[in-house]
Amino acid sequence: MVEVSDVSAASAEANAPGALRRAYDSDVFYSFRHSPITMLAALVTLLGFLGAIFAPWLATQNPFDLRTLSLMDANLPPSWVEGGEAKYLFGTDNQGRDVFSTILYGSRVSLLVGVGSVILALILGVGLGLLSGYVGGSIDAFIMRVADVQLSFPAILIALLIDGITRAILPREAHDAAAVYVLILSIGASGWVQYARTVRGSTMVEKNKEYVQAARVIGLHPVAIMLRHVLPNVMGPVLVIATIHLAVAIITEATLSFLGVGVPPTQPSLGTLIRIGNNFLFSGEWWITVFPGAALVIMVLAVNLLGDWLRDALNPKLR
């Protein structure tokens, strides 16, 4: 039915003046404005990122600066429970660290590793996907076989593997210092396959479209065609994957840190905090694990919801 698509094309008139106005008017932003849950999720995500970035200013103390700690204040309950103090909003842990501050500082590490590994996975995955889809042939076959092999291992296991190798290679102090980067590497390297497969599929579709053939007739170098023509047109689904992958990366890092093979205790992430707090769960100091846990869950949930919305909003445009 030709005319139905003409109708939707007609209704998406773009006589709007500036780019910002166009974005505001666009169908994607419209669905955003009309979904309260998505707006809430976006707000929470934004707050989470802001809290992490501005932690030194928002936190009441720096929980990893041993000089500011006082063992006298250890194991205090949250401020609204009897025995708590207003200074320590969510209470303190066994070393006198303010739980609220540790959450802020911990989420810094979590988000740093999360975002870092997503960026790494994205660059690796999109690059290999483009190459695989555009060039085809034996290169495509090889990359896809590597991807298939990697997919048969759980991502956690791969991350553990890379982590273990670096631990074995580097001396302890170097490893501690580089722990964050090793984590980014391991989680990023374990997550590129999703991107590569999606981009490969889209690339194979776009490759046969006439605008790519027009570029070949002009005589452009294949790399130029891949980057300038194909890449902008295959990025749509990548954004959706990246958002959801961010949530997965944060959870993966938390899992690894919980297991004790993630970040060192001197730079705890939310996962580390949960692990530490776990030891005290049954002795009654529930706040040490519950609040970091809740922060992690809320953050991941918000990012997931955002990703869900993005996928649905971009869907009619994804061909």
């Binding site: 773009a14 006439e210 605008y211 570029a215 005589g219 902008p232």
Partner: protein
């Protein structure tokens, strides 16, 4: 007719595609390689300033020929000469670049032939940038404006994106892009097939005007015989990868030689409702993976004989000055036909 050497000279080009199953599947199922002969020995010349059309139904290979000429595929055999230079022998991008500047291509699908993420002015300027023809940005901008005006669009349209335009307007943008590097030769692959008939009229008129103004040479691919009649100087009729008849346009339509040409002409709907009699059309285009022996048209041909089943006919000149690949025509077995088309 041609004054001097032809601009484009194509000799016996062929192209096959490997449509076999994957190596593993073939090994397990013990199946041979399957090759699709999309183009199987096509030769023609185009003189400067002229339009040669290739017409045929789906699967005849005309689009593949277009892509071979323009370099998107390499021919499995044969040669393509552009102003005397054998382009099939050139391999390196650097050698091909000066030739590539001089020919361009217009595609069928107006919705897929423009990058949806690029602005129109960048799309049109791309050949100029790629061949480094202009360095000054302002000069480039003026040239883009000039090209937009040439295809009867407004310079302000350069700022917009392709989805803001209709099908006909997008084809104009494609034409503007094709003309930006000042080419001499345009390959047009069904440029109006996806357009409404009134829009098609605009585009065909534009293409004719541009050919006159800029001295362009066209290779025009189409399945629509009426369009081909309107725009061509010479016409080649293709069937299953080969040219079966090649003639001056008016002559082909007034006095078609090859039985397939006659069948095609007969199938054009009778808009004038002259009530002309039609010979019943027989059969469908056979599977190109398994073509008939001898003359590939023989299962559908009312004049096929034993020789047609055994021997593949070669292109031979006919008394009327055309060329046709048909034993019956060569042997004079087919009565001459006068169609209702305009006299040659």
């Amino acid at each position: 007719m041609a004054d001097g050497a032809p601009l484009l000279s194509v000799r016996d080009i062929a192209r096959s595609f490997d449509v076999s199953k994957s190596f593993l599947a073939r090994m397990i199922e013990r199946q041979p390689r399957v090759l699709l002969k999309a183009v199987d020995g096509v030769s023609f010349d185009i003189a400067r300033g002229q339009t040669l059309s290739l017409v045929g139904e789906s699967g005849c290979g005309k689009s593949t020929v277009a892509r071979l000429v323009v370099g998107l595929y390499r021919p499995s055999r044969g040669s393509i000469e552009f102003e005397g230079v054998n382009v099939t022998a050139l391999r390196r991008r650097a050698d091909l670049a000066p030739i590539r500047r001089r020919f361009q291509m217009i595609f069928q699908d107006p919705y897929a032939s423009l990058n949806p993420r690029w602005r129109v002015r960048d799309i049109i300027a791309e050949p100029i940038r790629a061949h480094k023809l202009m360095q000054d940005k302002r000069e480039l901008g003026k040239r883009v404006d000039e090209l937009l005006r040439l295809v009867r669009l407004a310079p302000a349209d350069g700022e917009k994106y392709p989805h803001e335009f209709s099908g006909g307007q997008r084809q104009r943008i494609s034409i503007a892009r094709a003309l930006s590097s000042n080419p001499e030769f345009l390959v047009c692959d069904e440029p109006t097939s996806a357009l409404d008939v009134s829009v098609q009229a605009q585009i065909l008129n534009l293409m004719k005007d541009l050919q006159r103004e800029l001295g362009l040479t066209y290779l025009f691919i189409s399945h629509n015989l009426a369009v081909v009649f309107h725009i061509s100087d010479r016409v080649g009729v293709m069937y299953l990868g080969r040219i079966v008849e090649l003639a001056e346009s008016k002559q082909l339509f007034a006095r078609p030689q090859h039985p397939y040409t006659r069948m095609l002409l007969d199938a054009i709907p009778d808009l004038e409702m002259s009530g002309r009699g039609r010979t019943p059309v027989a059969g469908e285009v056979p599977n190109p993976l398994d073509p008939p022996t001898g003359c590939t048209f023989h299962p559908r041909c009312p004049w096929a004989n034993e020789r047609c089943r055994r021997e593949e006919p070669a292109m031979k000149p006919t008394p009327s000055g055309a060329s046709a690949a048909c034993h019956a025509v060569e042997e004079g077995r087919i009565p001459t036909l006068k169609t209702g088309a305009a006299p040659a």
